[in-house]
Symmetry: C2
């Protein structure tokens, strides 16, 4: 069997009595200090930002979405360009997801505003009769044991992903770290359905490993199981037994149980390999994830909220579009050293958002991503200095105000 | 009478046997090498670009639109911020137009795609009975001798500009160079109507001079008269007789007559003061304008075309959205040294435009504005070196191919 050593992960410091740690993740395109927040560049562009913007605000790694890039411009175009990083002129490390998440987001959840993280567990009554809404037979997606057939959200054309084709596409996209193809179910999935989905994800994980051919890409296996602890445990054990270079924790959670699920999973996953929590990006969740041994997070939240005028501050989220900002000629966010806050006022950013100017999106995205990068840096420092628990407590007390 | 010396204009070189010249225009916020292209930042933002982007691509001066800024965020907000430049964090020279152009663009021409420059003069038959379409009584605009009543394109609310209020608003916006309030008619206007409009513009010019109070802003008078040479001559003579610090050539032209009209007007306007051609930005027109003594041009064309994927090249306009660019991994525009061309490929820019990514607009706008700035620099150099005629001939032969 071929050996794959595309990445190297060195753990530096740990959080006493916890699974959390800092580390250096070495990739073919540079090092990532962990825990790290991964900027999402769905279509080979972090919306509105140049690679220089990303570098200056402290981004270390960019994730592209396989589903989107497959549809537009197509993996062959990206391959001919020399891979995702070269295509978009980002010289640092890159990742791609597997496309599996679209099974969820374009199937059950498409345009329904369903989050990966349910605030409360659905009752059996709520689940009753709803299975067809999120299972194999939603309007845009059909799942079978061999793969997923789906319709393009762009033109309605029919496409199919299998574990093998997902790997082939991701090998062409050429990111440093790629993910196994999985079935990401709805937070409303009933246990019987979830069992089937987990079994499928496990078979697909093995097939992804068998399908890979590139030795300069790390392949991450994905643990599923939703909000069911026994399924999460089963999934973590199986995925951990396979020769992946890293692991993803995917799927949906209940807000209250997320901590327990992540802890359970990370106790099982091999300590020496990096762990990525997929699509999670709320500040509270990042603290809980880091504490329980998560090394990487990716989420569109900072840039998506930015485009709606919602800015991260140490006191929580702040809506710059509020009329009260119209004549506030002060720093956008006090104590922030990002490009936006150093150069513009609340009044100007308010005006740009109210007028629908593109610069509003760029300046706000720079701020929100800088906020996340600074948060991760401070988290890493607190772990190094042995005061993570204090830093977390202090930060979250202020943030929730 | 109060004296106003807000700007100083030094002519450096001239084009032999022509009115064209290079110069240095000193403003309270820095010098402008002329002839210059003014970047348009309608709502205190050159769409998608930061002040740093503008500085790097060689922009010297930014123009904001009084009509738009009056509606959003309002001139008082901009004044409280310290003026247009401070509001948008642009440290160089600034201009505002008078709002008069909106009489045209929101009256007769609104959403009708009528250009300021008519390819052919309309026939009398075409004009017959159309006066009401473009005159005092269009749906959004009503003009009387004292000013203009108009409806906001944002919310339909009713507003009124007079010469005095335009100056008051522009004084609050605080640009280095401002314009007298004028009536900018349609290229389809009949002569009888045009006479009335010119007479009104003249009275308003005088009223603008009487209304001004700030001695750190240069006020430019606007010559009107459309495609009627006798009216242009009359207008140039009258406006030239007033104590403006500079002059604008406004209104509409016939494409073929534009050269003659500009030459006629600039022979009358005092040589020692700067002349601005309002809203003109096609490459051919800039060469003709410069040759005939125009010092400043402003136009949304480079940024508007950029947002539609149309790029300036030395061979003419180029549509990056063409399918043939999908796999062209070469410089966006050969021989171009702009940020976009130095860092990205045709294939990537094609992908960004096809996907509707914001970065497409920014990268394309950077290229098109750089193209204009480089063109103006080369025009200035050719005048300095005494080979403007050769440079123009060579450039336009290649450009028109």
């Amino acid at each position: 069997m071929k050996n794959f050593y595309p990445i190297k992960f060195d753990i530096k410091n740990t959080i006493p009595k916890n699974l959390g740690r800092t580390g250096i993740l070495k990739t073919p395109h540079g090092e990532i200090k962990t825990p790290a927040f991964v900027a999402v560049g769905t279509l080979a562009s972090v919306k509105g930002l140049s690679p220089e913007d990303l570098h200056i605000l402290g981004a270390q790694v960019v994730l592209g979405n396989t589903y989107h890039l497959y549809l537009q411009p197509g993996e062959d175009v990206v391959a001919s360009a020399g891979g995702l990083g070269k295509f978009m002129n980002w010289q640092g490390p890159t990742m791609t997801d597997s496309g599996g998440f679209q099974v969820f987001s374009l199937g059950f959840a498409y345009k329904k505003g369903v989050s990966k993280v349910a605030k409360e567990a659905p009752t059996e009554a709520e689940l009753e009769g709803k299975e067809e809404n999120f299972s194999e037979h939603s309007s845009l997606v059909k799942i079978d044991d061999n793969g997923v057939t789906f319709k393009s959200h762009i033109d309605g054309s029919t496409h199919r992903f299998t574990p093998e084709s997902s790997i082939t596409i991701q090998e062409k996209l050429g990111a440093d770290m790629i993910f196994a193809f999985d079935e990401c179910t709805s937070p409303l999935a009933q246990k019987e359905y979830m069992k089937k989905a987990v079994a499928r994800t496990h078979k697909w994980a093995k097939r992804c490993l068998d399908a890979r051919t590139r030795d300069d890409q790390a392949l991450f296996g994905i643990v599923q199981g939703g909000r069911y602890k026994d399924l999460r445990e089963e999934s973590a054990k199986y995925i951990a037994s396979l020769p992946f270079e890293g692991f993803g924790i995917g799927g949906s959670f209940d807000k209250d149980d997320m901590k327990e699920v992540v802890e359970l999973v990370n106790k099982i996953l091999p300590e020496e390999k990096p762990r990525h929590m997929l699509g999670i990006g709320e500040v509270e969740d990042i603290f809980e994830g880091v504490q329980r041994g998560v090394d990487l997070f990716d989420c569109v939240l900072p840039t998506r909220l930015a485009r709606h005028g919602v800015l991260f501050t140490k006191e929580g989220k702040y809506n710059i579009k509020k009329t009260t900002n119209k004549e506030k000629f002060e720093k956008v966010v006090k104590d922030c050293e990002c490009y936006t806050c150093k150069n513009y006022t609340k009044a100007y950013l308010h005006h740009l958002h109210r007028s629908g100017e593109m610069l509003a999106h760029r300046l706000s995205s720079i701020h929100n991503l800088y906020f996340m990068m600074e948060l991760m840096e401070n988290i890493r420092r607190s772990i190094e200095q042995g005061n993570f628990a204090e830093f977390k407590k202090e930060f979250l007390e202020r943030y929730k105000k």
